[in-house]
Every structure is written in C-alpha cells, then in structure tokens.
Symmetry: C2
Subunit: 270 residues, 2 copies
C-alpha cells in the first residue's frame, strides 16, 4: 500500500445521524478537508448489540472507508469507540480517532476540583467507558454519571426550546448540581444540539465538554503531526452516505450537520 | 398434527418489553390461561427494519412458539402486526391475533362523530396501517394521526407523573383537540401506561382505545368460538422469555406486566 497523502479524504462513521455533529466540528476546524461519512442506519442502534457484533460492523465500515482511500478515520460513535476502537487502531496503518479519549482528556484539563459529571445514553453510561478512562488518567477523580435516554429523542424531535426539554434536563442534571461538579462531559454525539440549554441549566461556572469538538481537535492534531493536513486555502467537500434512508433522515441530518445536504447516498455494507 | 386443546398455552410476542401490556390485559381477561411470551430484545427494535426482515423474524418466533405447543398466538407488536400478521394467519392452523384490527374495530364502535385520532411511534404512523384499516371499514372517517416518538422513552424511564410528560403529551395531543376527535387509538403497546394521563389531557369526553385490551378481548372471543378456553376455575401461569436480557429489563418488564416476574428465560431464535 502506498503512503497516505494530504489530498485524500477523511472517513467518519456512526450507527446513524449522531456522528454528523462530529462531522460539523470537523468542518468548522478543518474546512479544507474532504470528509466521507457513513451512517449505518440499516443496523442502528448499536447501543444494544454485543461487543463482538460492534467489532464486526466497525471492521466492515473501516474496509468500506478504506475503499474510498481515506487518510484517517474518526469513529464518531460512542458505542463503536468503546468496543472497537483499540482493534481498529491496531489493524489500520492510518490514524483512527474515537470520541471518548478526546472528551476525557478535555474534561481532565478543564476540571479544577476533580469533580466531573458524565451524561450519556444508557449504553454509554452502563459500559463505564468514560468513567474507567477518567480514573485511568486520574485515580482520585470524583465522577457523577447519569444515563439520560430521553435526550436523544428530544434532539431528534427538534424540541430544543420546548419547556419540557428544560424540565427533563433539570431532572437529569440535578445529581450533577448536588455533586458540585465543575465539568460535565456530553458523552453522546446528539448532545451538542442541547449544549446551550445544558449550560443554562448548569450555570456559567460549569465547563461543558463536547465530545464532537474534542474529537475534531484530536483529529486536527494527528493530521498536523503526520503532515497530512490539506493547504488551508482549499475548500473541502462532505459526502454523506448511509446504509438505509429512513423517513425524515435528510432533515435530521441537516440539523446535525448544520448545513444543507444535497444528496445522501445509500450504500451496502457487510 | 393433533387438534388443539384448551389445556395448551397461548403464545404472545413482541420485539421487546411493550407486548407485556398485552399480556397484562390477557391475564386480566383470561386468568385461567397459561401464557408463553417472547420478547425479541436481541433484535429490537423492529420499527426500522424492512417488511421482509419482520416477516422472517415473525416466522422464526412462530416456529419457536409452536415448539411450545401453543393453541393461539397474539402478535403483541404493531410492526409485526403490520407486516407479518396476514402471512402468519395464512400459514398457521391456529388462531393468530394482531393488535391493529382489534383497536381499529373498537375505535369505529366507539366514535359518534367519525373523527378519530391515532397516536403511535413514527414507524406505526408512517406505515399508515391504522389509517388504512380505519378507512377500509369506514371510508368517511376523519383521521388525525400523530407520531409521538418521545412517549416510548418516557414510559420506559417511568416518568409517568413527571410534569415534562404532561407537557409533551399536551403538545402531541393538540392536533387531536383541534380536530375535535371523539376517539383516540393508543397505537403502541407502551401507551397503556400513559392512558390515565392522556385521558386527563384530552378530557373525559374523548374515548381512549387501548390496543392491548382490545387484542385480549379479540383473543378471548376467538378462544370461545373455537371452544379452546380453559375452565375458569384454573389459575394460569405466565412464562416470560427474551432473546437478550438488557440492563434493567426485568424491572421494566414488571412495570409493563403489572406483577412480579420470578424469572426471565433467555432463549435463542433464528
């Protein structure tokens, strides 16, 4: 295999639409790069599947993205980052970046008190992926972890300014306030869309760590280290693919990406 | 194959925990019957899968339930009722009852104005299964259909008395009020748990049709017609099986079934 070059696109994938918030952060930070995104909507959700299945799916998608000649891959999915990232990194000769480590590192940099909150889906919280990694880097961290399954539906419903969403966030974030955390990790790719509301509920003194932004920053660093970044004067393109196109998927995808999508290409994987 | 006898159990299945509200209604109406329930949690959710896949899964589960010598089967799942019921009924020599037709019949019996609301998941509402069947029986019916994806999560979170749930229900049910429906079909097996709240939001003049209750009533009628009902003095047992046992599944199952569950048996299908 020939060595990677800066001209090649960056691959990113998720089980569905959520990873597009990571793509948005990548576009904001690396506007010169071409991005090839795959949402594995036909096999969504990943959260309730076994680690073995997640690894198989992730390998299939890596192979698909390598077929599009990517120079790096962002695993823009918490479940795949939890179960498959280490294996993908071992098997690939290109940089592979997950969403968990960048969020954890950012939280540890941000906290002054060592009291950190983590909010995510049931799958992410019960896997303890964030909690274990936080403790791995800093054993004395005090963690308040909250599973918040309603937030994904509220974001997908676009009820971001509905009074019910605020009530629900207040309920979920009460343990964080009681624990006097100074930093909260938004450990789900859907949550950047409720970041402003969460900030409002938690107050201005709590630092919110957005996994999407931090994954994009980790990617930018890797590309710079490897000399694989594109010249800044270029204008990158984003290609959005999915394994199924459910009803209203494109409107949802546009809200997550924060820009108009001209085409969603349906592809087969596995 | 030998003819069915009243001693045999009744089978019921769903993609997950929701069908247990139908089992609850069956227990209430037919306490003498043994019930064998399968929740196909390993392949949950069904809502985003193709009709062909739903048919294959449903056939596999029918074969599993026939292996437990059932005398009738309740398809306690809206997605499987939509896509697989007709095929299962054609292939089986025992009664197979879905959740859609009983709810539709009950709504048409209840309505005075012919103005009917249907509330369900996106999959159920977009499939138009209820709308088509309502129009099939009564062409001039005026239907207001609302997809309410948040309600499943709210029920599973057990936020039944949370102010946010009321706000969300008010939002979803506003089109029903504006359309002055006199009858609303709760077209999701999760919704019996929010029936009281929905009644409160809609007011006492609106008839709420509960698919679970009506499916149980349709089953009771079929058993009586076929002479397959058990003597009323018997006390039936309920066996709960699932293809996976996710975190907190048993607590959730107990809330849906409305009684203590001593064991959930994990089984393999397909």
């Amino acid at each position: 295999m020939s060595a990677s070059s800066s001209a090649q696109p960056i691959g990113a994938f998720d089980s569905g639409v959520g990873g597009l918030t990571v793509v948005k952060a990548m576009r904001d930070l690396l506007p010169a790069e071409d991005i090839h995104y795959l949402g594995d909507t036909a096999r969504f959700p990943y959260g309730n599947k076994s680690p073995e299945t997640i690894i198989r799916y992730s390998r299939e998608i890596m192979s698909y993205l390598r077929g599009h000649d990517v120079k790096a891959v962002v695993v823009a999915c918490n479940t795949a980052s939890t179960h498959a990232l280490a294996i993908l990194q071992k098997e690939a000769d290109i940089p592979v970046i997950g969403v968990i480590d960048p969020g954890v590192q950012a939280a540890l940099s941000a906290t002054r008190s060592g009291r950190i909150g983590v909010v995510g889906t049931q799958g992410t919280i019960y896997s303890e992926a964030y909690q274990k990694l936080l403790r791995h880097y800093r054993a004395d961290v005090f963690i308040t972890a909250v599973a918040a399954p309603l937030l994904v539906s509220l974001v997908e419903e676009d009820w971001l300014s509905h009074p019910a969403t605020r009530l629900i966030l207040e309920e979920y974030l009460t343990p964080m306030k009681k624990a006097r955390v100074d930093t909260v990790v938004l450990a789900c790719t859907h949550y950047p869309l409720i970041k402003a509301l969460a900030q409002d509920v938690l107050g201005p003194d709590v630092v919110l760590v957005d996994s999407a932004e931090n994954a994009a920053a980790a990617l930018a660093q890797k590309l710079a280290d490897a000399g694989l970044g594109r010249p800044v004067e270029m204008k990158g393109r984003t290609t959005i693919c999915s394994t199924d196109v459910p009803a209203q998927f494109s409107q949802l995808a546009e809200r997550f990406l924060g820009e108009k999508i001209h085409a969603i290409h349906q592809v087969s994987i596995g």
